[in-house]
Symmetry: C2
Subunit: 747 residues, 2 copies
């Protein structure tokens, strides 16, 4: 990314599915949808622009107290200027696009879009700042539909707002093979969708991550004369999200961090799949959120109280030191005469008869998928407005770049995801003479080396920083009043941590979040890890205490099945380094894989630096660390990972002493090895050699793939035990002697 | 369990690790530790007993307002009668047992026991009703240490109270191989420990399950003249538990259900592993719990305010319609002059020097592990008291049995875990002519058939009852005012649901909880499922929508790696039935495995009733459903599970039409198949036949074990997609044609 144009900068982020809108940043004037905009340099830092007659409105769109004096040329707001009837019509357009798409697919969730159409309209038409032709414009407001099943709300809004990802034909292909309108919002399918939601509670936690990223970047990069980072994060969550523990975890942190630019709409419709929430959900959400340190507002009539919604947003923006929960009481399936306010409208098509009745009830004479001309025309301004917003920001960035060269370069790297040249030289390397150490400590050496060269690296642990060894020594804690720092303290909230990390990763391509806990507690956050993998969020999971080697804490803390369980998961790298070089290699791989998360399984116990390990080896997933055979025909191949590679190496020494030709293979990442060429794989594990022994302190499940039907897998197929680590290894038969015995059986 | 003695009834539950105390229920008087107790029949329903001079104290121990007029003979309480100095000494004994054990192990967590010793002492010495010589006495008060790392607190208390599971030598073997005092509390190792804790937040959710069980059984079985079920559930949880989302989920339900006999002590010590909780946990817990519908009490001086703790418990018992949170502000590591109130005392031994300083500071002149004689003597009464409590209850049960024969038989079945004779006859069976149906619907037929014969079956779904098909039609909802019902509405709280189910399962051997969500959302509750497996809680997990077959909801909802991930987990049964008979077989296995949880993966989509499937087949895990080969030498073996067994069967038909000898194997449970004899396994999958094709709509990870190096696994090693199910099956190549093609390659 050599271009110095800040416009290119954000355009570069347009992903595969969006058709690029043609910009020409070198011309003095840009023509966009027939709207003439001043060029960047022509934008002056005062208020003499076309919307100067509505300063209050402008200020709502721009965010209260942004501190900036630059104003967008083409920004305009709706409230008082737009006829109430048109607002109503726009809201009903949203409702019927949802109804019609669900009806055509005969599958989906019409209830939420019908109830949330008013807040959706106000957000996308009146409040949010975005550029529909560049969904990846850096400084856009973020919107997350945490209640992801209601995705037709978001698709309808993206469609009206002019996003190229959701055309009329896309709406008609809702929930069909290959469409850009899948059954739940997926960021990797639909530009304009920020994160992947559907599994409840994830979205609100992602939103906390997005808001954290904004607060952090703003604190790091904003200058008194140039607030280059400045956007809001909006989220809609429902009763289901509220019940999930993950939302309480994330919202507790949001309150603790004082994420004032996080504004959450709680769609309080009293209906969940099983019926009235009275049957399982009678807590006072308001009180809970007050306890969590949020500002809470209740909009009692979310169905038609548009001004109340507007006022609530204004109030929320005015509260700068707390996130805001706007509880909006709505009617699920609003407008459906016979199904509104019942679970039957939650997750099924209304049915032709009820669609007709709803059309009649809401006075909607149009064909399915029809957007009335006046509604279309009204929304069309967002294309020009959005371009202007981005242009304004690009001008601002150009100013910033001139004045703050170094910071601009860092910020650019975060915005584009381009890694600084030569960053990988920071990775520490080791020799067999380097002191033995736990891979969790070697991981800390890597993190502290990398943070010096990776401006987007930040993260932390779920209250185990001193056990996971994740503290960045150069930095302090990211806290409410020190948001520029990079050590994030998640508390004992693994699930929230994972989802927040997803939000950070998906905020900007160059943000590289890591998060940490004991490997066994990936069980607490597995749903978030899976969404990292699915949504291509390159989170680095630093998972220490990776086996029975943790010792006395016992079976509740000792992972057994976890390596296998992640090896079975798509699009994730499960890495189990054996020593320093392999830990560095794992970090290299993890940093490079920005669209595939990595899990590093790291030891609590000291491990020697082995001969033959290398960063390059790790990049291949599996490789030979030592071999005394010739002609690719060892008598036996010993295969290990992580802390057991040492045992394999020692067994090989003994067997070689007895004259055997023994190869030792480190299989640090099965996924990476699988991706190598057949020639390479054959060079490591030749098909003709069936005498193979594997050793790994975990379930043997899956090892048949590597060792074949004749091979022997030494592992643990029971739960662990509480005792000193050495004792457990011995009692469980994870020993050099066992490897030698197994090898001899095969020779 | 033919004996009619109710004493035998509870004694029968004594598990492997406890030495049985010898009772003689047929004698008129029982001699226990030199205390003479009246015989059962001699217990009269009035208050003329040895403790009648302290009615207030008796009432505290018995629970306020139990409604019963029977009083225990040998019950006595401490408060006003025991010298304050002895209480202090007892509390310090607890502290030093913890300090000494951690010191000797050079591993463990002394901080919590030192801070919580006062509440621990008051609970076990003054408040709780238990029989140390029979840790499984049905009507005991339950205690859960949710902050499980502080287990030395519980071990010290069990030791002082006279439990045979924790002798002095056990304390000295803390955290050593084979000891009964592992690094975290494990119910399967240490009688007196109710559930397995350590992973934070699980314990408080287990406690909600225990309290639910009590409320349910009390409502079902108590009579105006005989409250045969009547106990409290106490729990200690720390800051870590409070931060975990699972605790919010479970506590929201506890408030909703009005579990008045659940009393939780929140050890508010402001320290977690990373330091002061200020860095990550600044919410108002009080306010949150008020929002959750709990009664909240704050004991400001938990270190020495013994009377405040006592008063709080009294107040908590008086509040009958809400659970109570007693926030007890303590000093972690209380007594340690240099380490108290710091994270350094949380998870490491104090070190010799600091132990000495603490001894000096608390005036403790004794050797390590010493229990002063007066403390020992004081606590010794619990053996007699406990026996008396149980004897009293046994007498009560005898009365109950006489008067309420039917209910007594049901309750006895729940207490002992003995399944009613012939229960399995209720399992529905099917023929190939039976209508095609989704296995989730067939599951519902099973649940509704079984609930008629299994008095302990109860459960529900995480807000998906109508999708998971888990409603018991004979019953209403378990709710605050209808706790006798058996449909539990968990709301969208998968993790809490799993842990609550664990608590229910471990309350009484005959309680058979089931719980349900979409299979993919096992990710949300995996930590709880793992504890089911580890702690031998026979929960039945009803997991529907088990593959891409769910269709339009898309990849966020489509499990891929989940079957493999559970096949790798120890002590759990992963069952994937293909049709009605296999669903019935899966339920038979699940009900019989009371110490091993079962996961049933069930289809959303309709499946035909296949020829050759059977309950007996399922019990073997893998079996032949059709075969046209002879001499155990088929040309090819097609192996399927669940919804893909139909595809395998159809492919076999075609191949047979072409003259091939084809065997079709259903591998419904890998674990059960693995447990069969080698002879049986060879009869199903003969070693000589390497032409094997598997088909399963999930990750192929692990299938090499079954199909060998030559075999072909048809599955899905990527994330799913949003589209109608049939389309996805076709696009992903999960078709009869693919099976036939793969088979032909191998022939």
């Amino acid at each position: 990314m050599a271009s110095s144009s800040s416009l290119h900068l954000s355009q570069a982020l347009l992903a595969r599915a969006t058709s690029l809108h043609s910009f020409n940043s070198s011309s003095d004037r840009i023509s966009l949808s027939g709207v003439s905009l001043p060029s960047f340099s022509g934008l002056k830092s005062h208020s003499s622009n076309s919307s100067s007659t509505k300063p209050a409105s402008v200020s709502r769109r721009r965010g209260v107290g942004s501190g900036s004096v630059i104003r967008a040329a083409a920004v305009e707001t709706l409230d008082k200027t737009t006829e109430a009837s048109l607002v109503e019509k726009s809201i009903n357009t949203i409702r019927f696009l949802a109804i019609d798409a669900v009806e055509k697919a005969n599958s989906g969730h019409p209830g939420l879009p019908m109830g949330c159409a008013p807040m959706g309209h106000i957000l996308y038409d009146e409040v949010m700042r975005y550029n529909p032709k560049n969904p990846y414009w850096f400084n856009r407001d973020r919107f997350v539909l945490s209640a992801g099943h209601g995705c037709m709300l978001q698709y309808a809004l993206l469609h009206l707002a002019g996003y190229d990802s959701v055309k009329e034909e896309d709406l008609k292909e809702f929930r069909q093979w290959g469409s850009r309108t899948p059954g739940h919002p997926e960021n990797f399918e639909t530009p304009g969708v920020e994160v992947t939601t559907g599994p409840l509670g994830q979205g609100i936690a992602n939103a906390v991550g997005l808001a954290l990223a904004e607060k952090h970047l703003a604190a790091r990069f904003n200058k008194p004369d140039n607030e280059i980072v400045d956007h809001y994060t909006y989220v809609i969550l429902g009763d289901g999200c509220q019940m999930e523990g993950i939302s309480n975890e994330a919202c507790s942190l949001a309150g603790h961090w004082g994420l004032g630019k996080l504004i959450a709409f709680y769609d309080d419709n009293h209906i969940s799949i099983d019926g009235d929430t009275e049957i399982a959900f009678t807590e006072s959400v308001d009180k809970r959120f007050e306890g969590l340190g949020w500002h809470v507002i209740w909009v009692k009539n979310g169905n038609t109280g548009y001004d109340d919604i507007r006022a609530a947003i204004k109030e929320a923006k005015a509260v700068k030191d707390k996130p805001t929960l706007i509880k909006v009481t709505t009617t699920i399936g609003y407008g459906s005469p016979n199904k509104a306010n019942s679970y039957s409208v939650h997750g099924s098509a209304l049915g032709g008869k009820e669609v007709d009745a709803t059309r009649k009830n809401l006075g909607w004479p149009f064909e399915p998928f029809h957007v009335p001309e006046d509604v279309k025309s009204h929304w069309s301004r967002h294309t020009a407005d959005g371009a202007a917003l981005e242009a304004e920001w690009n001008a601002k960035f150009a100013e910033y770049e001139k004045k703050y060269k170094e910071e601009a370069a860092e910020l650019k790297s975060i915005i584009t995801g381009e890694l600084p040249a030569g960053w990988e030289k920071a990775l520490p390397t080791y020799t067999p003479e380097s002191p033995a150490d736990a891979t969790r400590n070697l991981s800390q050496q890597n993190l502290n080396a990398l943070v010096k060269v990776l401006p987007g690296l930040l993260g932390g642990s779920a209250d185990l920083a001193s056990s996971n060894m994740t503290l960045l020594k150069m930095f302090g804690d990211f806290q409410k009043n020190t948001p520029e720092e990079r050590n994030v303290r998640f508390g004992v909230r693994e699930h929230g941590m994972g989802a927040i990390a997803n939000g950070i990763a998906l905020h900007s391509p160059g943000l590289i979040p890591y998060c940490a806990t004991f490997f066994v507690f990936t069980d607490y956050m597995r749903a978030a890890i899976r969404i990292s993998a699915l949504s291509e969020a390159g989170v680095i999971y630093v998972m220490t205490h990776d086996s029975i080697g943790l010792g006395e804490d016992g079976p509740t803390h000792q992972p057994i099945e976890h390596l296998a369980s992640f090896r079975a998961m798509p699009n994730i790298l499960m890495l189990r380094p054996a020593d320093g070089n392999e830990t560095s290699g794992s970090y290299k791989v993890a940093v490079l894989n920005r669209k595939r998360p990595s899990i590093l399984a790291l030891s609590r116990q000291k491990l020697p630096q082995l001969a033959g390990t290398s960063i390059e080896g790790v990049e291949k997933g599996g490789y030979i660390i030592s071999d005394n055979s010739s002609g690719n025909k060892p008598d036996v191949i010993l295969i290990g990972t992580g802390s057991e590679l040492e045992i394999a190496a020692k067994a090989a020494d003994d067997l070689r002493g007895e004259g055997k030709a023994v190869r030792v293979v480190s299989l640090v990442s099965w996924e990476l090895f699988e991706e190598q060429s057949d020639v390479y794989k054959e060079s490591v594990l030749p098909a003709s050699v069936s005498a193979r022994v594997s050793i790994e302190a975990g379930s043997t499940f899956g090892w048949e793939k590597i060792i074949g039907s004749r091979g022997k897998a030494i592992g643990i197929d029971r739960f662990g035990a509480s005792a000193p680590a050495g004792k457990i290894y011995k009692e469980f038969g994870l020993t050099k002697e066992a490897v030698i015995a197994a090898a001899k059986e095969l020779l």
